[in-house]
Amino acid sequence: MLGEFNIARHEWENVDKNPLPADIPEVEEVGATSAPLLSAAYFIGARCKPYNDDFLLCKDANNGGTVECLKEGRRVTRCAVSVLSDLNKYCFDEFKLNYECLEQNNHNLGACRNSEKIFNKCVFANLKLTKQIPGVKEQIHLKENPIYTGTSNDKKISKEFLKSKESQN
């Protein structure tokens, strides 16, 4: 119906399937989607800070540096992949618990505190990485009696998770 008015509009998808030239080294891309990435963001930030800073400084120095900073970019990606594969290796269940909660709750970090606590504990025990929000003294994820306490479903599922973990041991 609206096509009559949009007669002048042409749309198409610009697709390009050519890979990078062979002289640029291959790198494995990060395969995690948005919810796992959000869940793991602080741990990626904690471990990969030098690489991230290096990459961004390179981009800053090279006017965007899309072509110039490919090497630094590969380092960033490899580091993120290493964090994610470690999380999958040591804390798979806790990771899954947390990112599925995020996915159900509009990626709202405040809604998933209970599962996040379990996840953070596991990550600290295995990878020695901590979540630290820069610039503030009071860390919101460690607050004792928050107003936004998380959804009841998250509390329930977290409790069940802990119980099943206990019964396994």
């Binding site: 390009d16 050519n18 890979p19 990078l20 030239p21 640029i24 790198v27 891309e29 990060v30 990435l37 959000l38 963001a41 602080y42 990626i44 930030g45 990969c48 690489y51 991230n52 990459f55 961004l56 981009k59 006017n63 540096g65 899309t66 072509v67 900073c69 490919l70 630094e72 970019g73 590969r74 960033v76 990606t77 993120a80 709202n108 970090l109 405040g110 929000i133 820069p134 610039g135 503030v136 009071e138 919101i140 994820h141 607050k143 928050p146 107003i147 936004y148």
Partner: protein, 128 residues
């Protein structure tokens, strides 16, 4: 003849009004509701503070993810850029000399930085 009172006497007459209780003193209500409102405002502004911290938390999570997403994007842009250069080489092969000269003409005089092609100076197909 005269009416006499009924046997057992008359029903008692209600001389006092049946008013409901007036409750507490007004001052007590004033402080009660002020207290409830005050508590509500206190919780509300606590919640506002917490919302700000939640927003900060999300922002920092995104900042930490930004480099890896940028790196991914950069590889894509570079891939398209090199692929475009290759495509231009292929197009040039079929061109006449004049058309090729036109095609190879630089769009920008400023060579200080790399510019990604949005459109290339393509020759009109009718010209060759």
């Amino acid at each position: 003849m005269q009416d006499l009172p009924p046997i057992g006497g008359y029903e008692p007459v209600q001389w006092k009004r049946n008013l409901p209780s007036r409750g507490f003193r007004p001052v007590i209500y004033f402080w009660l509701f002020t207290g409830i409102m005050g508590f509500g405002f206190y919780r509300y502004y606590k919640g506002v503070d917490e919302q700000r911290e939640l927003a900060r938390e999300r922002q920092w999570a995104r900042f930490y993810l930004q480099p890896l997403l940028l790196a991914e994007d950069d590889r894509n842009i570079a891939r398209r850029y090199f692929s475009e250069l290759k495509r231009q080489e292929l197009v040039k092969e079929t061109m006449s000399e004049e058309a090729k000269a036109k095609f190879e003409k630089e769009l920008y005089n400023d060579k200080s930085k790399l510019r990604f092609p949005r459109y290339t100076a393509g020759a009109n197909p009718s010209e060759h």
